[in-house]
């Protein structure tokens, strides 16, 4: 590693102020700190620091995304072979999926990181690691047949409008990956919904509707079995189908303490609660499906584990996280059942609550403030 270090040390003078490539300072810094944790030492305050940093945090989330990614790649192939009526061998299916999914990932990372680097450069900031996660989330919430140029446009929109205009990672109001998906959903609805897009290169005769698609037209009978919805051997966005793989990711996030278990549990409670309420009402077949099925259909599980828990766009207070999560669950199921224009309520529910999370935090803070004022008053009167 010494050779690499010496090389970097030799190049460094070109990138600092006054050097030949001064303008590329952020880019150099990003690569240097990627390879080596910097030698910067504390000067004031605490002299010792925890080993965790943003890179570690983000890499753990990427790690937690691997189970749904790998399953998703396989499932893209599986669904295609299934629709064609071809034999199911693991490697052909996996490599078909890889050929489909890999370009989407590459486009997402290249476009997103290029914009991130450009913004960091113009602001003279260090490049933030946030996009390492967003860049993986975006492909996983896309239908397998999405055109690559759409991925590029959506990623650019998400990074610029969803994040950088607010000041970059940590300042954004909406979850960037969901912003990308919402952008495509509203801009190109025919490529993001219906029953054509969920299976890559599908045979025409084969129905490719997702469970939510069936329910939209109240085709409860066509719903796949609970078991296949849980395992994820159903059509859908690349990473969202397998509840099992998502649970594996959730275990990683909760065990490392990176993802908020509090939010995840609140979302599940909200979704189940609303589902049960609909069961009591029971006005149509959709309302009568067992409440737990909401958790294993569509993007509910994926949104719960990877999207709702985004610490930047979620509520930031411990109490706020409970309200925030619960309302996401409630609204997601509400939209699914009530609004025929939007088969999947999860994306909209999370985006809506992203907008409201500062308000939730505001009220949580107000109660703390009131408590303090009350104490001051009673101290005066005592």
């Amino acid at each position: 590693m010494k050779v690499l270090r010496d090389f970097l040390d030799k190049q460094k003078p070109h990138f600092v102020k006054g050097g030949k490539f001064e303008k590329l300072h952020s880019t150099f810094d990003a690569f240097e700190t990627f390879l080596f944790v910097p030698n910067k030492v504390t000067t004031s305050g605490a002299h010792i620091r925890d080993a965790i940093d943003m890179k570690r945090t983000m890499i753990i989330v990427v790690l937690a995304l691997l189970p749904p990614l790998i399953f998703g790649i396989w499932n893209v192939g599986y669904q295609h072979f299934l629709s064609m009526g071809m034999p199911y061998d693991f490697w052909p299916m996996f490599s078909f999926g890889l050929i489909k999914v890999l370009p989407i990932i590459i486009v997402s990372y290249v476009v997103g990181l290029a914009i991130e680097f450009a913004f960091a450069q113009s602001r003279h900031h260090e490049v933030n690691e946030g996009f390492l996660v967003s860049g993986m989330l975006i492909p996983l919430v896309m239908p397998p047949d999405v055109p690559l140029w759409m991925v590029a446009v959506a990623t650019a929109f998400a990074v610029i409008i969803g994040k950088e205009v607010f000041g970059g990672t940590g300042m954004n109001i909406l979850n960037p990956a969901l912003t990308a998906r919402a952008f495509l959903f509203f801009a190109y609805p025919s490529d993001m919904s219906g029953d054509k897009v969920w299976i890559a290169e599908k045979a025409d005769a084969y129905s490719g509707a997702t469970p939510l698609g069936h329910l939209l037209v109240l085709d409860v009978d066509k719903l796949p079995s609970d078991w296949s919805m849980f395992l994820g051997t159903i059509p859908g966005s690349i990473g969202e189908t397998s509840t099992l793989a998502i649970i594996l990711g959730a275990i990683v996030l909760i065990a490392t303490g990176i993802g908020s278990a509090r939010i995840m549990l609140s979302v599940i409670a909200g979704g189940l609660g609303m589902g049960l309420l609909f069961n009591l009402w029971g006005a149509n077949a959709y309302m009568n499906i067992p409440a737990y099925q909401h958790l294993i259909m569509g993007g509910f599980a994926f949104g719960t584990v990877y999207m709702a828990t985004d610490p930047v766009s979620a509520s930031q207070t411990a109490k706020g996280k409970i309200y925030y999560g619960f309302l996401i669950g409630v609204i997601a199921v509400l939209i699914r059942v009530f609004n025929p224009a939007y088969p999947e309520g999860m994306m909209l529910a999370i985006l809506l609550m992203n907008v409201f999370s500062p308000l939730i935090d505001h009220y949580v803070l107000q109660s703390n403030i009131k408590k303090r004022l009350k104490r001051a008053k009673s101290a005066v009167s005592a």
Partner: protein, 449 residues
Amino acid sequence: MSNVIKIKKGLNINLVGEAEKTIKELSTDQYAIKPTDFVGVFPKILVKEGDAVKAGSPLFIDKHRENITFTSPVSGKVREIKRGAKRVLLEIKIESDGKDESIDFGAGDPLKLKREDIVGKLLQSGVWPFIRQRPYSVIANPADDPKAIFISTFDTSPLAPDNDLIVHGQGDAFQKGIDALSQLTSGKVHLNIDANATHSKVFTNSKRVQINEFSGPHPAGNVGVQISRLDPINKGDVVWYLYPQDVLTIGRLFIDGKFDSTRIISLTGSEVLRPAYFKTKLGVNIETLVKNNTTDVNKRYISGNVLTGKKVDLDGFVGFYSTHVTVIPEGDYFEFLGWGLPGFDKFSVSRSYPAFLFKNRKYRLDTNYHGGERAFVMTGQYEKVFPFDIYPMQLLKAIMVEDIDLMENLGIYEVDEEDFALCEVVDTSKTEIQVLVRKGLDLIRKEMS
């Protein structure tokens, strides 16, 4: 005795290099008082280089509050007045003549003296600056009547000195100090002890105090935490606080009539070969303290503990409020892919490193940041090590945008930099939190004056 107050949130950081419980005499001739140790003080110097001084001779006063005097800890002569950039007064170095002559301020039983006589004696002798106030952690204003005085007898910070050992056999001086303090407030004097570790009779048999028992991890020993549990500070309240060795100094002033600046300093840290306690004077030179007793690596000398102490040079001096010196390795190295490797030997509170599996491991930690500074992204981290009914991140953001009202509402009067030290340690975003909190406190103090 009252119930034990349990502090649940917090963190004990186990470091290598705990001091052996022996006290060695350390005699040297190099001492210094550093005006930069005193928050908000603008020094007006009263001596010149070469002047002869005794213990208790005034060296400088505070321009804003001219009755607050800072005096020489030993007798001898002023060797050097060191100034820094913009002529800021950094150090007033005193070369001791070894005679320990002191100005006589007159002995007296504080219980029989009037408040103004006690205050006068403390001010004149230069002992007063040991008494500080919350909010702001500045030297107390003699004209105030604090609603309480807090003395924390136990230190929970990493490698903290053992106050039981330090006060051993000095019960008389301690009680005299308490007697003097009890005359300064119309409220209570709180003596806070560790429910599990404080055994010294000097503390447990003290009179004219309310003894409170605490248990739990750091920062349970911080006065800030103790105040918040017993008598929280509201806007306009003033609480005074000090530490056991300061009480002893006050006690000795009333017993002998002298400013006896004897301090027991614990020398700790992974880079100290034989960590121990040293009996010396206030503001002792670091070089003599660590002589022939450290490893050969590039080292960081800290006056204080690793969480809140100040970085000092080898030719520097122990701070006015420090009874503790820590020496740890500097962290000026690059680490290849440090964020990506498993990191079995690393210290981390987060479970993203395996450190949580080895709860009792002792660490040799260095001063590396372990990452670059970022915006706030992770949430809920600070709350785990911050035992106040305060939303830490929201308060920090209020300070960042300099919103005075919001800072007040969110409880800035109840906290101090040291209470945020653990937040700073565990922070993923590597924000300079203590500097930020100080900035907020200074802003408020300016606004209020």
